[in-house]
């Protein structure tokens, strides 16, 4: 079980590196928006489901917290997308 946690930790680190790398690699604003938000979404899900151990927990809590993540990240994406066009 802890092997899985270690693996998830490494994924989180890698994804952080990817996000920072993308922002450094002078790509256009549009290009980094989707991948960075996607890594954020995945990272958030790992923390919620695995670290907080909400996966398999009583359903409403998990869905409320995951729902929060999706709504916030989604609306951030929408706002940034809107600002570009």
């Amino acid at each position: 079980m802890m092997k899985a946690a270690t693996f998830q930790w490494l994924i989180l680190l890698a994804m952080t590196a990817v996000a920072v790398g993308l922002s450094q690699a002078s790509l256009s604003d549009n290009a980094i928006l989707a991948p960075v938000l996607l890594t954020t979404l995945v990272k958030g899900r790992i923390v919620i489901d695995r670290f907080m151990a909400l996966q398999g927990a009583i359903a409403p809590w998990r869905w409320v917290v995951l729902g929060w993540l999706v709504v916030v990240v989604g609306l951030i994406g929408y706002a940034f997308h809107m600002a570009q066009t």
């Binding site: 890594t39 917290v65 929060w68 993540l69 916030v72 706002a79």
Partner: protein
Amino acid sequence: MWFFILAELLVFGVFFLAYAFARTRNVELFNASQLELDQLSGAINTVLLISSSYFVVRAVDQIRHDRSRSCAYWLIAAMTCGGTFLALKLVEFGAKLEAGITMSTNTFFMFYLGLGFFHFMHVVLGMVILGAVTLKAWKGGYSATSYGGVETGAAYWHMVDLVWIILFPLIYVLH
């Protein structure tokens, strides 16, 4: 406890969206101000918080196996990461204040400093909670059958981490 964590997430969520939508009305200002941020410090802080969260997961696992001492060690490791986070954050804030930047400089810095400080205080509170849990674990106050306190403290700490996981790309990375 979960009720409280949700309330906290709600507040942060509203602030994040306020940032995103305030930005749409002033993209140039936000992008220009963002360049003044220390992205490296932000990235290191992300690594620190993610790692501390991982250590907390290990601590919870240890107490499930009734290993109080080693639970406390993992918690101390997590708090060391948290402490370093706070120190780095203070250096970052200090540099901004020295450059004469305050919350009233412009809307971007209002959010950067305001949200950053708000989150900073949550890390401090998280440290206090983890500290209390560590102390109790050290004294053998938890066991494999009774470790609700460790779980609650862990949940709060993960919440602080989760918030940062969104805050970092939002304010430091996306432009």
